[in-house]
Homo-oligomer: 155 residues x 2
Amino acid sequence: MTEHYLEDFTPGQVWRTGRARITADRIKSFAAEFDPQPFHLDEAAAQATLFGGLAASGWHTAPTTMRLLVEGELKPAGGIIGAGFEELRWVMPVRPGDELRAESEVLEVRASTSRPGQGLVKLRTTAFNQDGEPVLILVGTLLVPRRRADAAPPG
Amino acid sequence: MTEHYLEDFTPGQVWRTGRARITADRIKSFAAEFDPQPFHLDEAAAQATLFGGLAASGWHTAPTTMRLLVEGELKPAGGIIGAGFEELRWVMPVRPGDELRAESEVLEVRASTSRPGQGLVKLRTTAFNQDGEPVLILVGTLLVPRRRADAAPPG
């Protein structure tokens, strides 16, 4: 496995992932533990809600997208460690049987001012369903080590 | 249970939750499914990482906070439905045995321009550990129904 360092990232790059299917059973069991609301727990009850049918909790689709990222092309040395997100948006409901994949576009690459050995890579990750429709958008910044901690900052 | 409508929210209000303990076992099993990285999976392997010991995935602490909200004081009619977040920040690691609670401060209340029966409530939710230290900050907007869909918008 090739690991990626700050120097390997440039704005405009796109990193891809495999696919993950979201089942009705896992939608319900995840919701029972973390987001016990009718539209995530029960098909019949969900009909009467804003969602008009069973939909995955956004707190289920976000970690599912994280799993795809961890197993995808993007392999920062030290792991995928988020410094924080400035956008997390669920664009449309994820339904039972939907199959998700994600793409992460590099928006910005910069050295860290506080940690000389590290840098920050800002990414926009979009998860798509099997019809190519975006379901989730995440804009966040990862901590990524520099290949040479002693090198001068780029730019 | 009293349900809350748009008219019940005002900036500056604070809504509170109960508490939830994060165990080492659930940190590891959650990570095995959604965020399989050494600092979330194994105490010994985590020592050598940036975290310096086992820490919960942020994708575990965020849904745990959601569970606290669903069972907390805040009960929007129709459920807790996030329109999206503009900030999601993990301020410090959550460790095995930590007990979380959350507070949500109302930042902004407005009628929806596109959906006459609904409004938008912007909240800053902070999750604290048992020592009162903030571990997670979420700024997001909930869809909340108006009590009287035919009423003129406030303000």
